[in-house]
């Protein structure tokens, strides 16, 4: 399977208030030389959403699952079950499918420490990291997890965070000053990912 050992399934929200956290995760994964895989990338195909998700999980050794938005914030809002559902599929693939899928590595993210235990107590004892909704923290958490899991040497979380800030300056110049967007938030995530690729290719 192509790039199985480099693919990272990113099971994170696409909400506006999570966008900068999502971009921080994607940037960190790419910076470390891995390939973030998102359901957005297959938006044009005729597949159902669950088929897309299954494909990504099947093709990825790594999975990053953020459960920080599973709680409803308004009283009329439902609980959001997609992310824990997809975490369950990924976990099931690792535990039951055998072969290279047994080597899968999963990172579970939450906003606050121990909050998940109230909603998903089956995860007790698993390695769950909190990010406090701070992009600088999520960069370090993702970097530390991938580096420890792979036993590799890479730049520090602080350095990657600095680079992410530089990338944001580049993105502002490209999107707002050159391409005429009102704000970088007008860009689709996939467009930002393309800018990341350009920036990372020429950063030195």
């Amino acid at each position: 399977m192509d790039n199985f050992d480099k693919n990272v399934f990113v099971n994170c929200p696409f909400d506006d208030d999570y966008r900068q956290l999502l971009l921080s995760v994607i940037f960190t994964v790419k910076y470390l030389g891995y390939i973030p895989r998102l359901s957005l990338e297959r938006a044009d195909s005729g597949e159902s959403r669950i088929e897309k998700i299954l494909g990504l999980i099947n093709e990825s050794k790594f999975g990053i699952h953020d459960l920080s938005r599973i709680m409803s914030s308004d009283k009329d809002e439902h609980f959001r079950m997609n992310m824990p559902f997809e975490l369950g599929i990924d976990y099931g693939a690792k535990a039951l499918k055998g072969g290279e899928w047994a080597t899968k590595q999963l990172l579970v993210l939450e906003k606050e420490r121990y909050r998940y235990q109230k909603a998903l107590s089956d995860l007790s004892g698993s390695d769950i990291k909190n990010h406090d909704d701070e992009p600088s923290k999520i960069v370090k958490v993702v970097r530390d997890w991938l580096v420890a899991t792979e036993n590799i040497r890479r730049d520090s979380g602080h350095k990657i965070w600095s680079r992410f800030n530089e990338f944001n300056a580049y993105l502002y110049d490209q999107a707002v000053e050159i391409d005429g967007h009102e704000s970088v938030d007008e860009l689709q995530v996939i467009e930002v990912v393309r800018h990341m690729e350009d920036w990372l290719m020429h950063k030195d």
Binding site: Q20, P135, K137, G157, S162, N168, A169, E177, W199, K203
Partner: protein
């Protein structure tokens, strides 16, 4: 990709750093963003550089150019 620019951005351990683009280390660290911006403006003017002020999330909050031929800025 590296150009003559200064950045004010949050330090992951707290406070605010001023750093030249592409540099390995911050030139100075401050407790508040206001102090960091004041210092960064002086450095950017001296170096005829562009100054990017980042929010805590990394996004650009403000940009000023002190280059010799500044491009028109957009809010």
């Amino acid at each position: 990709m590296t150009k003559n620019s200064q950045h004010v951005f949050s330090n992951s351990k707290g406070g605010w750093d001023v750093r030249k683009s592409g540099s390995e280390r911050a030139s100075k660290h401050f407790d508040t963003q206001r102090e960091a911006i004041q210092w960064a403006k002086i450095v950017a003017k001296n170096q005829k550089a562009e100054l990017y002020v980042h929010g805590k999330d990394g996004k650009i909050r403000e940009k000023n150019s002190y280059a010799s031929h500044p491009r028109p800025l957009k809010d």
